[in-house]
Symmetry: C3
Subunit: 353 residues, 3 copies
């Protein structure tokens, strides 16, 4: 124990690199897309359970509002002052919880957290219906994460305040996928009007993951189907035999998405504009790791100009040597998650600022 | 995993049913009882440990203030801005904790929570006296729940800021009982002046529970004794041989309460105006369930116009088929708990708004 | 269970004894030391890891600012409104956590707490570098406590917002030691200009503890070395054979501190002006108790006018019979910890008020 002082400690911390890796891009999105809050009014006082609930117009306007918050943080006037968020994370989480809580605080609201299921009436056998009835009176909005994918549906029965799905078992994680869409729209604002994208400009998206096991991928694919006219194809890279749930692929294809399954990542990469990688699938109280075979690093044959996305936390599947490259949009993605959640929460409570 | 979207999800959440089950009633209480803050001034900067501390005038005015908060939420001007609540729940709890925290936040204050006894100095052998000395400097008011009924008394020795008992072992839970009184006064505002209640209008109250084992019942009975002139009798329905602690029944009878013990619930119900049911007794780190024999449901022979109360969380003793009936005042009771705690906290810090 | 009401409960809680035991002293410090914020500007947006980072001028001005906050609490205008503290206590703590959170709240900021390491990505194998990257986007400042003394250094690599060391293993606890310095400067404001202290007025400091094992003592000694010209000697009272880490004693002596090791407490006490006692050394997830042999009580041969300090929580080494004596400056020390942390946090975010 004799840590001599690093001279660097006496230097001020560096400011964030605003002009790299997508941090500057929200301005482009704001200029490309005219503001129109009308589609967001349909979200007022609604529960947010599934990516299926959202139209392309709503997604685009949520991202547009997020871009406004990200670009002009000093113009936000704390419109949620006096409102209380109940942050109920019955499945342990830090990243998603802090992202929601940060979003709520930046809008001026107060927060009550439940982070330990053992301390709740649920542990004593209380029904989620009764918990919901209690929450109606104690807060203004609930964010719920639960290992059981049915929990949010049970709670909905008794709930009269909006609830947002913060991850329900292996089912969905719509707000995480919303951050993915926001990242893509910042990178390529033209996708906001996918019908106008020329054939040659349509994007190729590679998703390394298992759509039937990973809630983030499930929700993302549903959102991508809203932008199908601007997407040349979505390639699922996996070594799992049945990567889709029954009916899942069909639903996406009916919505216009061109899907292909492949197992050789490096053969696909040179053609891909967007590369999304995830290795973790949450199943009950535990998780499966699907990352052993596929890895991205600075040595991967990535297409120039392509972007790499990752929901984080990462394991070995995403090498840190990509962090300093222009391929790294996963940090911007994490950053954007706060702003897109601000936009959603503001819309749900009709407090746009 | 293929949750098709429930079309209902695209509908806005229903507004709460304000005109049923007691939600509209606070207005009646406000009209019946003239505001008089003088009795509340005696509470300023006091510890709240036992129901014994409160006079009828104080209870009535706290409920009157709660009714004002419930009726006119938009008039509350965040009088606790800059004040810090220390929410110390050494015994796990969600309902009571969130209710206090919601009350404090609605008055504009900030909160620091202690939810895990293992993280505190107490786990390292620190005395509650020393913990109290620390809390004096870090916050403006403490809410304490502890499995040990002596803990709050030990902490009091060192404390110079107000403390509120949020449940101390099998002893008391005065603020929960305050919510019960608030519920009854909303239902029957005339009880606020019990000496003026005509003989025929005196209410019959049935308490299904064990006064010597249940802290909520112990505190409620003490409060009911303040309203004895308006109460024809209180019937304790139980199959426990010695439902009272030594001296408990005598204390209540000396205060004027007419008590009777019975064991056949359905024979009593047709005469009862207020039916309070609870099955759980907290004893140390665990609980006893006394609910096996007595149950309430829509099939119970309840008197028309009667109200059912329950401290929640409920088990099998209270059937969900009562939820949609006019007997259900337990949801209004849970809702009112926030407002009556706001009134108490505002009084303790002389921040009435 | 038949707690009769203590009549004292109906009395208002006593106000704190403002004029004893150092509570009144911040005014003296304010008068003795002219305000000069320039040295604090060098702290803006810096990480705070080690006591080594601070000059005497910075310490004096931080204490001066703390004295202003303590003396004029009503003049604080919530300069951190809209700023978010991430309170990350991967090692359980209540005292330090609440002190930081109280300081942040009093400056008007919002807080997100992480109190359970099991709920974090770290538990899933996420690197602290990635956690840091996440925190960059979710908050404005991090306070970290970790059982591993290297954790804060690893996190620093990825962090672009200020971090404050809230105790890193057996290494350091600089803000706790800052509260010790604040206590001493309130007691003897002349120490703020130690070069002007007359030979006869130089203070003798007794530290009962193990500098190489106790982080609070390690940081305190580094700070004391900044005031060496005003200190006659520092006596380390211990029965440990090698109380210093390799190089630790040499570093302090090079900085001008006169150190002596002794093992007979009662022989030293009559000459000592400041007596600092601590018995606990945090090592990994557990702690060592070095308090068996040395105890302070009202029967100890303390020099008249001397002050006793203790980082708290205390065990048997500090008898409660000292609490009511003028030797007790440990409560004032705990109280001051909030104000000196306010000063530091305000400086880091350049929000002096």
């Amino acid at each position: 124990m004799n840590n001599k002082l690093d001279p660097q400690l006496t230097q001020p911390v560096a400011e964030p690199p605003l002009d790299t890796q997508g941090f500057e891009r929200p301005r482009d999105l704001m200029q490309e897309v005219p503001e129109d809050l009308v589609p967001l009014l349909e979200l007022v006082h609604r529960p947010v359970v599934s990516a299926r609930q959202f139209s392309r117009e709503q997604l685009v306007q949520l991202c547009r509002l997020a871009a406004r918050y990200e670009t002009q943080p000093h113009l936000i006037s704390r419109p949620l002052t006096g409102k209380i968020l109940i942050s109920a994370f019955y499945e342990p989480s830090t990243r998603t919880r802090l992202s929601f809580e940060s979003a709520w605080h930046r809008l001026g609201g107060d927060i009550m957290s439940i982070t330990d299921p053992a301390t709740t009436g649920i542990a004593k056998g209380e029904s989620l219906y009764d918990v919901a009835e209690m929450l109606n009176h104690y807060g203004d909005l609930v964010v719920l994460r639960d290992t059981d994918d049915r929990a949010i549906y049970e709670m909905l029965e008794g709930l009269r305040i909006p609830i947002v799905n913060g991850g329900n078992g292996v089912d969905e994680h719509p707000t995480k996928a919303m951050a993915d869409v926001y990242t893509m729209l910042k990178w390529r604002p033209a996708l906001a009007a996918p019908g106008s994208v020329a054939e040659a400009d349509k994007v190729r998206i590679c998703i390394i993951g298992v759509p039937g096991r990973m809630r983030t991928v499930r929700s993302l694919l549903l959102f991508l189907s809203r932008f199908a006219p601007g997407i040349a194809e979505v390639v699922i890279v996996t070594d799992v035999d049945q990567p889709f749930d029954p009916g899942q692929r069909e639903e996406l294809e009916e919505a216009g998405l061109v899907l292909r399954v492949a197992d050789d990542l490096d053969r696909e990469l040179p053609q891909m504009d967007v590369v999304y990688i995830n290795a973790i699938a949450w199943v009950g109280d535990s998780f499966e790791n699907h990352g052993a075979r596929y890895r991205l690093s600075a040595a991967s044959p990535l297409k120039p100009g392509a972007i790499v996305m990752h929901p984080l936390a990462r394991g070995d599947e995403l090498d840190r040597d990509l962090d300093g490259t222009p391929f790294n949009w996963y940090f911007a993605q994490a950053r954007g998650a706060v702003f897109v959640r601000m936009a959603l929460l503001a819309a749900l409570l009709k407090s746009f600022n």
